[in-house]
């Protein structure tokens, strides 16, 4: 059994949206930092080999931007994403930390290198030889890219744990099926972002002639050439995804499809511009256009992150943990024991609820639905069920995983489900002061029948690998299960 954590009500915003916002900003900045390192090494090399006279002034100007943006915002939004993940789903981040803390600790040693190498360059570059500068930049870029390398393994594991599900070997978990395509793909994104920001920076460096700017911009655009490989890598990534997740993205879920198209469209626009305009035609690009392209890149990142987060549904760690923090193997037990009896946290505005039945319903909602839904804000259950009568509600919730395959199976008793229905209907009815305080027992047998028909397995069409004894023995849920709360 997992520990039960208090759930915060962030008003009309569901926590997932807050998470998405922080994640998008962080991913954008962090990818810029990684690509920035590569771009700087390239320019330093151009300067040292006499291939570009102005590259040096660019390196020094660009690095200031990199430090001010990525050291400060990149590092802190990184901590921010950690804090947000805890708010959204403590069991998920707990699971990730549990299995991969040494990978994370390894990544951390690269953070340290990144900070030291970067700061040494930042502070002393004007007193160091060009060679030493290059060495520091290479170390910086190496450290930054390695941090991508490590975190990429942990994040791709969430969607495609692959053989890890049966072996529980950290190597299988880390080098999972999604690892390589997403690593290559992200590296290209990093280089593209850095090149675009480079174009903005070139436009604000003072005392450069138009020809000088154009030359630097065309050099920076070299980092966008790998975008040619994006379609192939994107296809590889889609191919590595579980088939059900892939089907959400390719049309199964209109919202996800939309974000996917935004991401693809924006990338195509940037790639097209880069290849035709900057590389083949050697065009000049002014600050405004560069900023616009950057905005498109932000759109692409946002779309991509949304798809990545969304396509994991109903899991946060595939086959291991549902989005609401319940484990697949717990569902059967919770159907029997109920999901609210061991929840120590009261309902916050309990006094405003008319009775115990509705209160239990509110607790069921909080435990099982609140990660993805609000009652009346975004993705509101009250609105989604607006056209349903009580029996339709009972059936569709009892068969939750069939209602929409990206929802987990309902994990509570028939009585709890009925309480949830009462709670939803009470909110539908504009929260009247009085409401039936007892459950109509005659509804329970049919709810039970629907629950049984739906079963406790998720809807996904890729099979759940057999769980072995060995893997259970080290799963934290079980390890912590013997403890008192």
């Amino acid at each position: 059994m997992n520990a039960i954590y208090p759930v915060n009500d962030y008003g009309p915003l569901m926590p997932g949206l807050v998470m998405a916002a922080v994640a998008i900003v962080h991913v954008f900045l962090a990818q810029f930092a990684v690509g920035g390192g590569i771009l700087l090494c390239y320019f330093q090399w151009l300067a040292m080999t006499g291939r570009s006279v102005d590259a040096r002034s660019f390196v020094h100007g660009y690095f200031k931007v990199l430090v001010l943006i990525s050291f400060v915002l990149g590092a802190l939004t990184g901590v921010g994403i950690w804090f947000t993940s805890i708010q959204v789903s403590a069991p998920t981040i707990g699971e990730m930390v549990f299995h991969f803390h040494w990978i994370w600790a390894t990544e951390w040693t690269f953070f340290c290198l990144e900070v030291v190498a970067g700061y040494c360059f930042y502070r002393y570059h004007d007193q160091l030889s060009a060679r030493t500068c290059l060495t520091l930049l290479v170390l910086y870029a190496f450290a930054a890219w390695m941090s991508l390398f490590w975190i990429n393994g942990i994040l791709s594991w969430q969607l495609t744990p692959g053989h890890w599900l049966t072996t529980h070997s950290i190597v299988d978990g880390f080098l999972n099926p999604g690892f390589w395509p997403s690593l290559f793909f992200r590296t290209i994104v990093c280089m593209t972002l850095a090149a675009l920001i480079g174009c903005v920076v070139v436009n604000v460096i003072p005392d450069l002639s138009r020809e000088q700017r154009q030359e630097l911009i065309n050099k920076a655009a070299h980092l966008m050439i790998p975008m040619l490989a994006m379609p192939v890598l994107g296809a590889w990534y889609l191919y590595s995804m579980p088939s059900d997740s892939r089907s959400w993205v390719l049309g199964g879920s209109p919202a996800m499809m939309l974000f996917f198209m935004i991401s693809v469209g924006a990338s195509l626009a940037i790639g097209g511009y880069a290849l035709i305009g900057l590389w083949l035609q050697k065009l000049y690009i002014n600050g405004a256009t560069a900023s616009l392209l950057l905005l498109l890149a932000f759109g692409a990142t946002a779309g991509g992150e949304f798809v990545r987060e969304g396509s994991r549904k109903p899991y946060t760690v595939r086959h291991v943990l549902y989005s609401n923090g319940i484990r697949p193997e717990e569902v059967a037990g919770l159907r029997f024991r109920g999901c609210v009896s061991d929840d120590p946290f009261p309902v916050i505005h309990e006094k405003q609820l008319p009775n115990e039945v509705v209160t239990i319903g509110a607790k069921v909602f909080r435990r099982q639905c609140a990660v993805c839904h609000t009652m009346e804000g975004s993705n509101a259950v009250v609105h989604l069920t607006g056209a349903w009568d009580a029996d339709q509600m009972r059936m569709n919730i009892a068969k939750l995983q069939q209602t929409k395959p990206f929802m987990p199976p309902f994990a509570g008793t028939a009585g709890e489900l009925e309480s949830l229905v009462q709670y939803i209907q009470w909110v539908h009815a504009k929260r009247p002061g009085s409401w039936p305080g007892t459950i109509d027992e005659s509804n329970l047998p049919k709810i039970q029948r629907w629950l049984d028909e739906a079963g406790t397995a998720p809807a996904g069409n890729s099979p759940h690998p057999q769980t072995t004894e060995a893997e259970i023995s080290i799963a934290p849920s079980v390890a912590l299960g013997s403890l008192k709360r």
Partner: protein, 376 residues
């Protein structure tokens, strides 16, 4: 706990505790530089003194403004490691108190972002020409940000310790159970940052002594000598006062602890650490007094004070854990660390730690052998 912390626990628990304590000490060390440093800047701005060189232009304030952005980078990066291990050792407590604080906890991030950029502002040439009131506002703003962040960590920590009040805290939204305990604990840390900052800054000042020309060529060598001397003394006083204040506040915090915690602190687990903490603090004081008698900062006493300080920090961090372990569920920490030690990856971590320590040393070596900057 029948043995000195962290011995004779389940070996996995001891192992994670040791790593946690050591990484936390590193975090504290760097965090202290920015917290105490920002308070120092408030003091120098508020009381510039009557000498020809205002305190804001004296060596220490210059040094702090120059290095605080980097130290903050360091403090944040160093904070990530204990943040990782606290989630292995005390997962439920840490997550629950994070969640109970909710958005109040999340505010830490924007506040740190603001403080970070303000540090770059205070470091800039432009800001040094601002009117007093603006500079004062700036330095108070920075210090307030750091104090707030420290407050949040302490509030979070205390809430994580009192599982009995979690449901009620969730219902009422009240996160602070005892203002007195919170202030005493927080003030212990704040006071404790001064000895730490003092020693780091002393080493830096020592290295800066020969490079003052780059700061301000209009100040004569003799004047610099006097200024440096005064700063050494100030650092010594700040350090001794910090130790005394931290001790007093820790005593205040002691009175808020339950008897069962006292028993552990003066029992087998804690008494050696109590003695070590007190002795190493006294060593620091002695070190500073000896230092006062010398004309300049001398290697021997600075080294003594540094070693004593690090010992004191490890001792205090251990006592901090003993308090937590005597309130937490030991079985829970044991079970989760035992399970965590099965997942693998530690050797990978060791290999890359060695590699990256080497690379970091190489970076430092490269900049140390640079050509000196030519003063304008």
């Amino acid at each position: 706990m029948n043995h000195m912390f962290p011995f004779r626990f389940d070996s996995h628990l001891s192992f994670y505790l040791v790593i946690y304590v050591l990484t936390w000490v590193v975090h504290f060390f760097l965090m202290a530089y920015v917290l105490a440093g920002s308070l120092w800047l408030v003091w120098t701005t508020l009381f510039p003194g009557t000498g020809t060189v205002p305190r804001t232009k004296q060596p220490l304030a210059r040094l702090l403004r120059d290095w605080m952005p980097f130290a903050l980078s360091g403090a944040i990066t160093a904070g990530v490691a204990p943040l990782l291990f606290v989630q292995i050792l005390y997962r439920q407590q840490f997550y629950t108190s994070n969640l109970l604080l909710g958005w109040r906890w999340m505010v830490v991030i924007p506040v740190l972002v603001a403080a970070f950029y303000l540090l770059y502002v205070v470091k800039s040439e432009t800001a040094s020409r601002w009117p007093l009131i603006a500079r004062l506002g700036l330095s108070i703003g920075i210090a307030a940000c750091f104090l707030f962040v420290a407050f949040c960590w302490t509030a979070n920590h205390l809430l994580s310790l009192s599982s009995a009040v979690w449901p009620e805290a969730y219902r009422s939204g009240e996160a602070v159970r005892s203002t007195f305990a919170l202030s005493m604990r927080l003030l212990t840390w704040v006071a404790g940052t001064f000895p730490t900052m003092s020693i780091l800054a002393s080493w830096q000042l020592r290295g800066m002594r020969s490079r003052t020309a780059a700061w301000d060529a209009s100040i004569s060598e003799a004047e610099w000598a006097v200024l440096f001397n005064t700063e050494h003394r100030r650092l010594g006083y700040a350090s001794i006062a910090g130790i005394a204040a931290a001790f007093a506040c820790a005593c205040g915090y002691w009175t808020t602890l339950e008897t069962s915690v006292h028993t552990q602190l003066i029992g087998h687990a804690g008494w050696p650490w109590l003695i070590i903490a007190i002795a190493s603090s006294l060593f620091q004081i002695v070190g500073w007094v000896m230092q006062f008698r010398r004309p300049c900062l001398c290697n021997r006493w600075l080294t003594t004070i540094t070693v004593a300080l690090l010992t004191a920090l490890v001792a205090v961090a251990s006592l901090r854990e003993i308090v937590r372990l005597s309130l937490a569920n030991l079985d829970q920490a044991t079970t989760s660390t035992r399970a965590a030690s099965q997942v693998g990856g530690f050797r990978l971590f060791l290999v890359f730690t060695v590699l990256n320590i080497g690379l970091i040393a190489w970076c430092i070596h490269m900049v140390r052998s640079r050509k000196p900057r030519i003063p304008q």
